[in-house]
C-alpha cells in the first residue's frame, strides 16, 4: 500500500480501500452498490434535519397565520404574517431585532478586542503571574456565568439607581454583562493562534523602532485577522441567542431582544393566533445567524477539534 493514502483528507471508512489502488481493486466492485444505501440513509437524515425548518418556512408564509392552520407543505403563499409582524405596535419586532443586533455587536466586538489584548500579553510578554493568570482564567470558565444570574440581577438593580443608562432594561447594561467573561472566553483560542505568528516579525519591527502598541495595532491585529473574525462571529452568534440574562435584564417591551420578544409571543392564550407572526419573526432572525454560521463553519469546526484531536 502506498504512503500517499495517509494524506487523504476524507478518510475512507473501514470498508473502503485507499485511493491509490481503488480503481482496479476488486473490493471496490464488491461493495460498489454500497454508495446507494448511503444516499438513501442520507436522505432520511436530511428529512429529519429539515422537516422542522420546512414547517417554519411554510408557517411563516401561511396566509391564515395560526398554529392549527399551519402545515408542513405549504398550500398557498402570502406575506400577511410579515406584514403583521412589522406593523404590530404591541410587539415591536424591528426594535427587538435592532436590540439583539446591537447587544450582540457590542458584546462580541468587546470580547474580541479584550481577548486579543490579553492574548497579545500572554503570547508575547513574559511577566510574573503569567502562568497563574492563564490557569485562573481557565478555572474561572468552569463557573458558568449563568449561575451568577441572581447576583448580577441584584447588582444591576442597584446600578439602575446610580447610572440608569447602564441599568436593567438597557441594551448597554446587558452588553456590559456580556463583557464580564470577555478575557477568559477566548483567550486560550486566541493565544494559541497568536503563538503561531513568528516572533521574529515582532523583533524585526522592534529593531526598526516600533513601540509595543504599534506592533500590536498595526501588525499583530492584522496578521491574526482571520481568527479575530471567526471569534467575533462565534461570539456574535452566541450572544444573539443568549436568553437567560436577556430575559431577566430586559423586562420592558421596547428594550427586549428578539429571543425574549419571540418567547413572549409564544406563551399565553394568544400563542395559537400569533403563530404565523412568530414563525415569520423566527425565520427572519434565523437568517443572519445561519448565514454567519455557514460562512465560518470551517473555522468553527477547526476550532472545535484542534483542542482535542492531537
Amino acid at each position: 500500500m502506498s504512503t500517499e493514502s495517509t494524506s487523504v483528507t476524507d478518510a475512507p471508512s473501514a470498508v473502503s480501500p485507499p485511493r491509490s489502488t481503488s480503481a482496479k481493486n476488486p473490493a471496490r466492485r464488491r461493495s460498489g452498490g454500497s454508495v446507494w444505501w448511503r444516499h438513501g440513509l442520507g436522505i432520511v437524515a436530511l428529512i429529519w434535519a429539515l422537516f422542522p425548518i420546512l414547517f417554519l418556512i411554510s408557517a411563516a408564509f401561511n396566509p391564515a397565520g395560526t398554529l392549527n392552520s399551519a402545515e408542513l407543505i405549504p398550500k398557498s403563499f402570502s406575506l400577511t404574517n410579515f406584514d403583521t409582524l412589522f406593523n404590530d405596535p404591541a410587539r415591536p419586532f424591528t426594535t427587538w431585532f435592532k436590540n439583539s443586533m446591537l447587544v450582540a455587536f457590542i458584546g462580541a466586538s468587546g470580547q474580541v478586542f479584550i481577548g486579543a489584548c490579553a492574548a497579545y500579553a500572554f503570547s508575547r510578554m513574559r511577566f510574573k503571574g503569567r502562568r497563574a493568570g492563564l490557569l485562573s482564567l481557565l478555572l474561572l470558565q468552569m463557573f458558568p456565568a449563568v449561575l451568577t444570574f441572581v447576583a448580577l440581577y441584584l447588582m444591576f438593580a442597584k446600578i439602575s439607581d446610580i447610572v440608569p443608562a447602564f441599568g436593567l432594561n438597557t441594551v448597554l447594561g446587558l452588553g456590559l454583562v456580556y463583557l464580564g467573561g470577555a478575557m477568559g472566553a477566548n483567550v486560550w483560542l486566541l493565544k494559541g493562534y497568536f503563538d503561531t505568528v513568528p516572533r521574529e516579525l515582532d523583533e524585526a519591527a522592534k529593531v526598526d523602532g516600533a513601540s509595543h502598541a504599534r506592533i500590536f495595532f498595526t501588525m499583530i491585529l492584522r496578521l491574526t485577522m482571520p481568527i479575530l473574525v471567526t471569534t467575533f462571529m462565534i461570539s456574535f452568534i452566541g450572544l444573539f441567542s443568549e436568553f437567560l440574562l436577556a430575559s431577566i435584564f430586559l423586562q420592558d417591551v421596547n428594550s427586549q431582544t428578539v429571543g425574549v420578544g419571540l418567547y413572549s409571543m409564544s406563551i399565553g392564550n394568544e400563542a395559537n393566533r400569533l403563530f404565523g407572526q412568530f414563525a415569520a419573526g423566527a425565520l427572519l432572525c434565523s437568517i443572519p445567524v445561519v448565514a454567519i454560521y455557514l460562512a465560518v463553519q470551517k473555522q468553527i469546526v477547526g476550532g472545535l477539534t484542534t483542542g482535542s484531536v492531537k
Partner: protein, 529 residues
C-alpha cells in the same frame, strides 16, 4: 496614595522597556484624552455614588482609577496595559458576582437593610397633622428616566405659592425658571423633569410607600393625583429595645425572622423583610426539608439523566451520520453536510419555541403527522421525551461535525494494519476506530455534558420546567436545577434569592466535580509554557 500605585503586580521588565521608542504625537494625545475621559467618567460616577450613599464603592472606584492611571500614564507595566481593561471587567462582572452569589447563599435573600426597612415603615405610616398645609402636587421623574421605574419626585406648590421639589431624601426649593403652573397652582411643566400622567401615576405601585421626609418624624405624602399633605409618622422606632411602636394604637412590634411582628401576636406583621445572615440554613433546607429534598433529588436525577441521555443520543446519531458520509466515493458530501448542520446553526430560542409549537397536543405538527394524540407537554414522561427529541435535533449536527473531524484525523495506516491482520469492517470499527474516536472527542463529550447540565434555555422555552404535579406546584417534572433556581428567584410572590443562590453553588460543585475528570484528560493544563 502611594499604596494604590503599587496594586498592579510589578512586571518583570521586558527588554524593550528602557529604550522603547517615542510614540507619535497623535497617539499621545489620544491616550491622554482617553485617560481624561476615564477620570471624568469616574468623577461623575463618584458623585452619583455619593448621592446614593454608597461610600464603600467610591473607595473601590478610586482604587480602580488609580490603577488605570498608574498603568497607562507611565511607560512601565507593559503587560498590564493590555490586561487591565479585561481584568477590571472580569473582577467586576464575573468574580464579584461569584462572591456575591456565595454571600447571598448565606443570607435570607432579602436585599434591603434593616435601617432601610425601618425608614420605609416610618415613612409609610405618615398621617395628616391637624392644621398642616396642603400642597398642590405633580408627580415626576428626572428627565430621561423611565416613567415606570425612574426615581420619584414630588413637585409641590405650597399654599403661599412657594415652589418645592421633594424626593426620598428631603425637600428643597424648585427654581421658578421655566416652571408652568395651572390656575389652581399645580405644576404642569418643569425643566429637567418629566411629569407623569394619571395612568403612569396609577402604574407606580411604589407611590403608596413614598413620602418626602421633612423633619423629625414628619413627611409629605400624596393624596390622590394632585394633592399632598404634611403628616407625622405614627410608627416610631425605639433603638434601645429594638422595637417599633404605633403611637396611636399603642401597639408594639418586635423583631422576628428579619421582620417586625406584633409583640402580643395580635394583628398583622409588617410585610417588609430585611437582609439577614442565616449561615448554612439555605443549604440545610435543601438537604433536610422533606418536600424540598424530595423535589431536589427528583430534579437532580432528571438533570443527570437529561444531560447524559442528550450527550449519548446526539453522539450516537452524529457518529452514525459521520460514518455514513465518511466514504470517499460518496458524491455530494458537501451538500449533505451543509444541510445537516442547519439545525445547529439556528438560534436555540427559535428551535425550542418551534418544537414547542410542533408538540402542541391539539394543533401540533407531531401529533398530526403521526396520527397520535399525545399530550406531549402535559404528561411528565412525554414531556421528557419531547425535550430529548428536541435536543437530539438541535445537538446532533455538533456531534456530526466533531466526529467527522476526528475520523479524518485517524491515520489510514492504522486501518490498513488492522485489515492486514484480518479484521473485518465491524471489527475495525469496534476495536480501532471507536477507541481512537473516543479519545479524540472524549473531552468534548464531557464539555457537552457540562453544557447540557445547565441547558437553561431549552428547558425554559420548551416546557418551562413543567408539567407540574398538583401536589407540588413549585417543582416541575422536567425542571433542571438551573430552571428551578431561576423560578425560586424570579417568579412567585416571594422571591427567595438566598435559596436560589445556594442552589447555584450546589450546581457549581456538581459541575466542577464532573468537569474535573474532563480537565484531567485534556493536556491543556500542561501546555502552558
Amino acid at each position: 496614595m502611594s499604596q494604590a500605585t503599587k496594586t498592579p503586580p510589578a512586571p518583570v521588565s521586558s527588554p524593550a522597556d528602557h529604550d522603547s521608542p517615542k510614540p507619535p504625537l497623535w497617539a499621545v494625545i489620544v491616550k491622554w484624552a482617553a485617560l481624561a475621559l476615564v477620570v471624568i467618567a469616574a468623577f461623575y460616577l463618584a458623585t452619583r455614588l455619593a448621592d446614593e450613599g454608597y461610600t464603600l464603592y467610591i473607595v473601590i472606584l478610586a482604587f480602580v482609577v488609580m490603577a488605570v492611571l498608574a498603568v497607562y500614564s507611565t511607560r512601565r507595566n507593559i503587560p498590564m496595559k493590555y490586561l487591565l481593561p479585561g481584568l477590571i471587567l472580569l473582577l467586576g462582572l464575573q468574580v464579584w458576582p461569584i462572591i456575591m452569589t456565595v454571600s447571598t447563599a448565606f443570607t435570607n435573600g432579602q436585599t434591603i437593610t434593616k435601617s432601610e426597612t425601618i425608614a420605609a415603615i416610618e415613612r409609610n405610616s405618615v398621617q395628616e397633622v391637624q392644621g398642616s398645609p396642603r400642597y398642590n402636587l405633580s408627580i415626576a421623574v428626572k428627565e430621561g428616566d423611565d416613567v415606570a421605574t425612574g426615581k420619584l419626585f414630588f413637585l409641590l406648590t405650597g399654599p403661599d405659592g412657594a415652589l418645592k421639589v421633594g424626593d426620598e431624601k428631603g425637600l428643597s426649593d424648585l427654581p421658578a425658571d421655566g416652571v408652568v403652573k395651572t390656575d389652581s397652582g399645580k405644576i404642569t411643566k418643569a425643566p429637567g423633569y418629566t411629569i407623569l400622567n394619571a395612568r403612569q401615576v396609577n402604574d407606580r405601585k411604589d407611590l403608596a410607600t413614598f413620602a418626602v421626609p421633612t423633619g423629625d418624624g414628619t413627611g409629605i405624602k400624596a393624596v390622590g393625583l394632585s394633592a399632598a399633605f404634611e403628616g407625622r409618622a405614627t410608627i416610631t422606632y425605639d433603638e434601645a429595645s429594638d422595637t417599633l411602636k404605633n403611637t396611636v394604637t399603642g401597639q408594639v412590634y418586635v423583631v422576628k425572622d428579619a421582620r417586625f411582628v406584633p409583640k402580643d401576636g395580635q394583628g398583622q406583621a409588617f410585610p417588609q423583610k430585611w437582609k439577614e445572615n442565616v449561615g448554612f440554613k439555605n443549604f440545610q433546607t435543601i438537604l433536610t426539608d422533606a418536600s424540598i429534598r424530595a423535589g431536589f433529588l427528583k430534579i437532580f436525577s432528571w438533570n443527570l439523566a437529561f444531560a447524559a441521555l442528550s450527550v449519548i443520543t446526539t453522539f450516537i446519531l452524529g457518529m452514525l451520520l459521520a460514518l455514513l458520509f465518511n466514504d470517499e466515493r460518496l458524491k455530494g458530501k458537501g451538500f449533505y453536510r451543509a444541510l445537516l448542520v442547519l439545525p445547529y446553526a439556528i438560534p436555540t430560542f427559535v428551535t425550542s419555541l418551534l418544537w414547542k409549537s410542533m408538540f402542541n397536543q391539539d394543533y401540533g405538527l407531531i401529533n398530526s403527522l403521526t396520527h397520535l394524540d399525545v399530550d406531549w407537554l402535559g404528561n411528565a414522561w412525554a414531556a421528557k421525551a419531547a425535550i430529548l427529541i428536541t435536543n437530539l435535533w438541535l445537538g446532533f449536527p455538533y456531534m456530526f461535525l466533531i466526529t467527522t473531524g476526528a475520523l479524518q484525523s485517524i491515520p489510514s495506516d492504522v486501518r490498513e494494519a488492522a485489515k492486514i491482520d484480518g479484521a473485518g469492517p465491524a471489527r475495525t470499527l469496534r476495536s480501532i476506530i471507536m477507541p481512537l474516536l473516543l479519545v479524540a472527542v472524549g473531552p468534548l463529550l464531557i464539555a457537552s455534558f457540562a453544557f447540557n447540565f445547565n441547558n437553561f434555555s431549552l428547558i425554559y422555552l420548551l416546557t418551562g420546567g413543567g408539567p407540574f404535579d398538583s401536589s407540588n406546584t413549585s417543582i416541575g417534572n422536567t425542571d433542571l436545577l438551573i430552571t428551578y433556581a431561576f423560578r425560586l428567584a424570579f417568579s412567585g410572590t416571594s422571591p427567595n434569592y438566598g435559596l436560589a443562590a445556594a442552589v447555584s453553588i450546589l450546581i457549581f460543585f456538581i459541575v466542577a466535580i464532573m468537569s474535573y475528570a474532563g480537565f484531567r484528560r485534556t493536556a491543556a493544563l500542561e501546555e502552558v509554557n
